[in-house]
């Protein structure tokens, strides 16, 4: 159930209020402030905050806007600036500081802005040696040209942080530093909203009422294998977890964050958790048309048929025990994970929980399928090529060959797989495939 109102909530202990501040432009200034839709930022202050991480040796801060002839390469993540207005120290609890339950109280967010960290890890580290499964694929945002519409961040004003890390520090520590610094900058930018009137405030309740409405669960696959291929809940990795229940408002409030840098077209950036369209829509329907029973994260890349089946069974069992009539099963990554998606669909249907499945396709269609998956949402063909584009400037470091991971001059025409978040399988984009 959603209540629209301005001002503060009388009952913030049991609801999440999200106050949105639209930002039409971001400008460099000597002081941080938000003035009539214009965010003024002291870029040196941003740089100093990011540089306060010991594992970071250099940070270049840039503002890039839609329509500029700029390509961002080696994109790690994108975070929407937000702050817990009544207790800023709990923002991104578990990553930045004090551990408090998220998803309750007042959160201020800057709309149409993103903090985008870039890092060419291979310039300082032997990534292939330090990782069990080295990261693959380009991760690109084009601010103009034919690739711009395919990524959400081609249409946001981006505060870009180009990180260089200390080569002596382990990759995992450098990554942790970048994730902390990025969240810190996101909170710093959003601090400009404190005391200012919001453009719109939305209140999200998630109560146990509406018992007679059909129960719907959102089962969301996440990748959590090792540092750089990880997803975090309150700052800790989801590695080795079994499916569990998350309050949907925790997802919107920064409890679930991304740190997985492979296959950029089909993974979930943090901002797609913060403004998750599946969660937002299900919460908005909660109490009127459905009863949203919650978000169930389940691991995407478990490495045996037994483990895939076990995770599928546990997720389905949890959805069933929460009273779900239906479950929307969101995939993640590529083939390995999609087999898990299909097994989860099968496990749900076997327990009488009806499913719709969200997946990305290839030139050859679906990679895997079970007959029970009779309601599939296709969020795009990630192998389709986008016309080549020559930007005037590229930020983020070198390109690497997808097969060999050795440096190359130009990536050539890229498939959607190379475009950050272009075919994300939680349904955050408006892309789909059609048969031709």
């Amino acid at each position: 159930m959603v209540v629209d109102r301005s001002g503060t909530s009388a009952d913030s202990a049991s609801s999440l209020e999200v106050a949105s501040y639209r930002v039409a432009d971001v400008r460099q200034a000597t002081q941080m402030r938000l003035l009539k839709g214009r965010l003024e930022v002291n870029l040196e202050e941003v740089r100093e905050l990011a540089l306060s991480e010991p594992a970071v040796t250099e940070v270049q801060v840039s503002l890039v806007r839609p329509g500029e002839s700029v390509r961002l390469a080696n994109v790690l993540d994108a975070i929407e600036p937000c702050i817990k207005a009544d207790s800023p120290e709990t923002t991104f609890a578990g990553i930045l500081g004090q551990l408090e339950p998220l998803g309750l109280g007042l959160t201020n967010r800057l709309a149409d802005v993103a903090v985008v960290p870039l890092c060419d890890f291979r310039s300082t580290h032997d990534v292939d040696r330090e990782m069990e499964a080295p990261i693959r694929w380009h991760s690109i945002i084009d601010m103009d040209g034919p690739g711009r519409p395919y990524t959400h961040w081609g249409s946001t004003t981006n505060v870009v942080l180009q990180f260089t890390c200390k080569s002596d520090d382990p990759l995992a520590e450098c990554d942790r530093a970048i994730r902390r610094a990025t969240a810190g900058v996101a909170r710093l930018l959003a601090s400009a909203t404190i005391g200012a009137p919001a453009d719109v405030t939305e209140t999200f309740c998630w109560d146990a009422e509406a018992a007679d409405l059909p129960g719907i669960a959102a089962i969301i696959q996440v990748g959590a294998d090792e540092p750089l291929l990880d997803t975090y809940f309150y700052g800790s990795s989801l590695r080795d977890t079994v499916p569990f229940l998350i309050d949907p408002r925790e997802v919107l409030d920064g409890a679930l964050t991304a740190g997985a840098y492979e296959y950029s077209g089909v993974r979930n950036p943090t901002q797609f958790y913060q403004r998750n369209k599946l969660v937002l829509s299900l919460l908005r329907l909660h109490g009127s048309r459905i009863r949203f029973v919650g978000v169930i994260p389940t691991l995407a890349y478990v490495q045996s048929n037994f483990e895939k089946s076990r995770h599928a069974m546990i997720a389905a069992r949890l959805a069933k025990s929460l009273g779900a009539t239906g479950a929307i099963v969101a995939s993640y990554g590529t083939g390995n994970a999609q087999t898990g998606t299909m097994l989860t669909c099968r496990a749900c249907e076997a327990m009488g929980v009806k499913t719709t499945v969200i997946v990305s396709e290839t030139n050859g269609g679906l990679i895997d399928h079970v007959p029970e998956a009779d309601a599939v949402i296709s969020v795009g063909n990630h192998e389709e090529l986008v016309r080549e584009w020559e930007p005037e400037a590229t930020l983020g470091g070198r390109y690497y060959d997808v097969e060999s991971n050795s440096p190359i001059e130009s990536p050539g025409p890229l498939s959607l797989m190379g475009y950050f978040g272009s075919s994300s399988q939680m349904g955050d984009t408006c892309l789909r495939t059609v048969a031709v």
Partner: protein, 337 residues
């Protein structure tokens, strides 16, 4: 817009069956039905139906050479209607031209073998079975050729060309999330809904067990990406584009250092210490010595299953099965990872 046209001997006016052995021929400008295409034809290439059927690689080599020399914006093939030999030549030439960067538009009946031969590469205008639909077919082929050259083909109305088995991206009004919720509500309510992606899978019934493999020929087939050391055919580590066969006659086992897996879906280090654990040639030879397996085919048939789309895998499976059937193999040991 510069176009090139491909005709057989009949439509080029060289004669019927008697001229079917006509080798490839290049003519300037439009010929025969090409004159009724609503576009400028800079050159016409011709090949006899039998010549193409009997000497495909020679015919194709010469025709493609002329296409590459001419560098047209689009290659027009047909219409071939229900003519199988001409349709096949249209489909093959169109497919190969597209692979060399020249878009192709064909016209033929949907059951013409040329449709399959084009492998989804060409845009094929569906026609009737006979030449009475010539005028209409040429007009629709002209329209589609312009749409292809101008990049508008994907937004053409359904039915403009035969489905190519391809998945194109389009932007729609509603997010994937909202579409998923709508479909869920319809499914729960028992209302109709249309899934956005159908399975390309063929359900394979489990065949009856052979009474004995002692009297038949067994073949070894794998999706584990097992290839001779250094991967001479560059088999892909994922999203395989084809399958390969490798001579294993006279080998007792797949020795590390001679064979390896290039599969990208698992850590191959352990498997490569003993490739027999991916393709158990050692165990098969032992059973053969005991007389429990009869003949073993001299080749290993290998591809990579990792992320290879089901439709493509199905095609590989059919091709391998056809080969095995042709050479009299009655049993296959298929290993996967």
């Amino acid at each position: 817009m510069k176009s090139m046209h491909f005709l057989n001997q009949f439509f080029a006016g060289l004669g019927g069956e008697k001229a079917a052995k006509q080798p490839p021929l290049r003519l300037d400008g439009a010929v025969g039905p090409g004159r009724k295409l609503d576009m400028e034809i800079s050159a016409t290439v011709v090949c006899g139906d039998d010549y193409f059927g009997e000497k495909e690689s020679e015919a194709l080599g010469q025709l493609l050479q002329w296409v590459e020399d001419e560098k047209p914006d689009v290659l027009i093939c047909g219409p071939a209607f229900a003519a199988g030999r001409y349709g096949y030549a249209c489909g093959v030439l169109a497919r190969e031209a597209v692979r060399r960067g020249v878009p192709a538009v064909c016209g033929m009946h949907e059951e013409n073998p040329g449709v399959l031969a084009s492998d989804g590469a060409a845009y094929i205008v569906p026609t009737g079975e006979g030449v009475s639909g010539m005028r209409d077919a040429l007009s629709r082929m002209s329209d589609l050729a312009r749409a292809v050259v101008e990049g508008r083909a994907e937004s053409a109305p359904p039915g403009t060309y035969l489905p190519r088995g391809q998945r194109a991206n389009v932007f729609v009004e509603k997010s994937g999330a909202d579409r998923a919720i709508e479909m869920m509500l319809a499914k729960i309510a028992g209302d109709s809904y249309e899934t956005e992606a159908k399975p390309p899978l063929e359900r394979v019934p489990v065949p009856k067990a052979l009474e004995s493999v002692a009297s038949v020929t067994l073949a070894l087939v794998t999706e584990a990406g097992v290839v001779p050391k250094d991967n001479p055919d560059r088999l892909e580590q994922c999203r395989a584009k084809g399958w390969h066969s490798y001579d294993i006659s006279g080998l007792d086992s797949l020795e590390p250092g001679s064979f390896e897996s290039v599969h990208g879906g698992f850590d191959v280090h352990v498997a490569n210490r003993d490739p027999n654990r991916l393709v158990p040639l050692d165990a098969v030879r032992a059973l053969q010595r005991e007389g429990r397996i009869g003949r073993v085919d001299g080749f290993l048939y290998s591809t990579t299953g990792n992320c290879t789309p089901a439709a493509r895998s199905l095609k590989f499976g059919h091709e391998i099965a056809q080969r095995l059937t042709e050479i009299g193999v009655a049993a296959a040991l298929v290993t996967g990872t």
